[in-house]
Amino acid sequence: MSEAYNFAYLDEGTKRMIRRALLKAVAVPGYQVPFASREMPMPYGWGTGGVQVTAAILGRSDVLKVIDQGADDTTNAVSIRRFFAKTAGVATTTRTTEASVIQTRHRIPETPLHEGQTLVYQVPIPEPLRFLEPRETETRQMHALAEYGLMHVKLYEDISRHGHIATTYAYPVEVAGRYVMDPSPTPKFDNPKMDDCPALQLFGAGRERRIYAVPPYTTVRSLDFEDHPFRVQTFTEPCALCAARGHYLDEVVTDDAGGRMYICSDTDACETRREDVR
């Protein structure tokens, strides 16, 4: 553990500020709490929000797992895991079941989370209405009035143009019947895992300076229409490595003649299944 910096890098004043924001976020599920994001020693857009949230909650007895695209061994996941191993000296793991805190970018683990776990999402654009209305002053008002008609119009325009809702990731959700929330750019495949989840879900957007949360056992509904109900992606083939069905798969190009194979994006779930088979 590096002695030059405080435990988990952040100074105590910054941690207090983030902790207060987290408490508000939990009390108002899905509402984006502004916070004074600090410059971190990694670039904005590379997980500074998630890193700040993790740094603010982490204690000595925590066991940390970090994934990017579902994998523990992607470079950014490796980099963030090493950052905390170095600055906080906490135990790290790749096992979803062993982790008390999981920081993620773009996926929710396939293995169901349990009570006592906290999932920390890295969020690039926390505002679900941002691409419909670029102005913060306007979107803040829409949230205040629960005026989400614009979002439904957008989804419906998709249907009239493509016959489907054309949003495949960062698919908007309604939290506890009130706030419309961006689930971060996870594929919509993962949206159902957010609903009634036993784990605490925390979201950190560093560059955009927002923190939000979904408490455990909270209703998270993907927006849809009666005649166009929400549906997740399905894969026709099982994972080529572990034969799992019902996992989210990565398409791997194996040659330049159209060769493809599909493997689990969640490396831990895939390895665990293969070990069980052995």
Partner: protein, 362 residues
């Protein structure tokens, strides 16, 4: 048999070792010292200090060395260091009227008390490459006039105009605590102090382009350079336990007071308005561009129509920070294959439906 890619950790270590090697370049060429960068790349050091929001020439020079001369990367190093520093409080407002001047020009008067002081400037140099600089050798020494310490002899142009009420008064320090954009998230619409803080640390290229756009009609403000002054000012701080200001040292700054289009109403006689720029070190380009954008951002307050990018505070402030911009642009090189897979699946499905529809029609 396909084996999933592993070894991110080793790859990162190797990449960083390689970076250290290329940073040094050809070992047969002598290594740059921090002092050399500080002294001979002084304007670059100034820019890193300004955008890094930290007045420390040695640290900025070191950051430039570590960053292989990449300005944004050097700014990043300085900012990340800055956030770890304890914050004692805010200084007393700088008195730029009492600046020890190294350079001072006004475009609004031919001559004025204190005169025009050209100082060290690229202005009026002919941009011909000086091949003599490729050789080692000492430049001729010149006798520079001592910086003027008699501030009363060089009053600010805006103060001269203000005496006759010809320009709107400068806002006074009324003791209300100032916002600090490094400690509180910006809440729109935001006040001028917040905007100036963001502009002062904003990317020089972005601010320059926005300032330029106002000159070309996108939020025109009819600017005149009232005054640009470059020099050193004393920084004072009031410790709680003492209750009076104590000097902490001096900093070099560049200040630009832009004199803009006059305003008036039934109640107020016509008077010129102001745009303001202040940056660490010597950077007239940044200070002038900042003053243009500051004035453009006051459009709402001055009852001018809001139609141009430089007048839009959410647009300007949310995009002027080079670290935020570079981080988010460059994050696109991180893996996004999970999301891409989701899009791929949808596009394939839509194409299949499209083909099926066409075949059915035929």
């Amino acid at each position: 048999m396909y084996v999933a890619v592993k070894g991110g950790e080793a790859a990162i270590d190797n990449a960083h070792r390689l970076l250290a090697e290329v940073r040094r370049g050809d070992p047969a060429v002598p290594e740059l010292t921090v002092a050399q960068i500080r002294e001979q790349m002084a304007l670059l050091v100034d820019r890193v200090m300004a955008e890094g929001s930290l007045n420390d020439p040695d640290l900025a020079a070191l950051a430039l060395k570590q960053a292989r001369g990449d300005v944004v990367e050097a700014v990043f190093l300085v900012r990340a260091f800055r956030t770890t520093l304890p914050r004692f409080g805010a200084s007393v407002p700088l008195d730029t009227g009492a600046m020890a001047l190294r350079r001072r020009v006004s475009a609004t008067f031919k001559d004025l008390p204190g005169g025009q002081v050209l100082g060290p400037t690229f202005d009026y140099t002919h941009r011909l490459v000086d091949f003599a600089l490729a050789e080692d050798g000492a430049p001729e020494t010149v006798a520079e006039a001592e910086p003027r310490e008699d501030a009363a002899a060089t009053p600010r142009v805006t103060d001269l105009l203000g005496r006759d009420g010809l320009i709107e008064p400068s806002p006074q320090d009324d003791g209300t605590p100032l916002p600090d954009i490094t400690r509180e998230p910006v809440d729109y619409p935001c006040d001028r102090a917040t905007r100036l803080q963001a502009l002062a640390r904003g990317d020089e290229g972005f601010i320059l382009a926005l300032g330029y756009s106002t000159q070309r009609g996108y939020g025109r403000t009819h600017p005149f350079v009232g005054e640009i002054r470059v020099g050193t000012v004393e920084v004072e701080f009031v410790p709680e336990e003492l209750g009076f200001p104590v000097p902490l040292g001096t900093v070099q700054v560049t200040e630009c007071q832009m004199v803009n289009q006059f305003k008036g109403s039934r109640a107020v006689p016509p008077q010129f308005t102001r745009g303001y720029g202040l940056v660490f070190g010597q950077s007239e380009r940044k200070a002038m561009a900042m003053a243009l954008v500051d004035r453009a951002l006051r459009a709402g307050e001055l009852g001018e129509p809001l139609a141009s990018p430089a007048q839009d505070q959410e647009f300007v402030l949310a995009h002027c920070d080079s670290l935020q911009a570079t981080g988010f642009v460059e994050h696109l090189k991180l893996p996004h294959y999970v999301d891409f897979q989701a899009e791929l699946e949808l596009v394939r499905r839509l194409r299949a439906e499209f083909e099926a529809g066409r075949e059915a029609a035929e």
